[in-house]
Symmetry: C2
Subunit: 130 residues, 2 copies
Amino acid sequence: MVLNPAYEAIGKSFVQQYYAMFDDPAQRPNLISLYNTESSFMSFEGMQLQGALKIMEKLTSLPFQKINRIFTAIDSQPMFDGGVLINVLGRLQADEDPPHPFCQTFVLKPLGNSFFCQHDMFRLGIHDTA
Amino acid sequence: MVLNPAYEAIGKSFVQQYYAMFDDPAQRPNLISLYNTESSFMSFEGMQLQGALKIMEKLTSLPFQKINRIFTAIDSQPMFDGGVLINVLGRLQADEDPPHPFCQTFVLKPLGNSFFCQHDMFRLGIHDTA
């Protein structure tokens, strides 16, 4: 049971690194370095993907060229295996689409002196209005 | 490394149980049974709380009497210690307030034949408009 006291800084720095790569189509393929070949899970708008290759197939197939992103909140918590749980709430605008809220959850697992992304869940905040 | 194949059903059933208790002020104090005395973490609108007592102090101090809730998406993933990661996206209306989007993330840890809530992150989807 080793809580990493730097969880807040780790969360913020991971989020910066992740979206800097994600939001630039030229860098997006490099996201593969953040996922584990076998064991990383992603839920993308409800679609379940496992393993770095499947995840990257999805992420590199996304058509937009430009994303503007505003962060509303980045919450992090330390996990008992030394990992970090991160929740991101924000708004994004892909190309000329209207802006949408989004939330994304990451679970980082320690690996040597760094972390990889074990769990990743992404949802746009598009709600049926009742 | 024991993935629980029932993660999807566990996620959905936990979410039902959690909000049935949370949304009824008479039952809300019973949420204490879902958290660990020492090790549960909660982030509530950015406020960090640790341990069942601190978490319950916050949750039972919330003033609203009535909550209407609509779920947009419930995503679950199995974790490698047998736990389940859950992300809930929805809209809620507390008393006569205007409805707001919310997202909430849970990490359930196995305990005997059941689970407790190790991590809990709650945010209303209130965004500054740029």
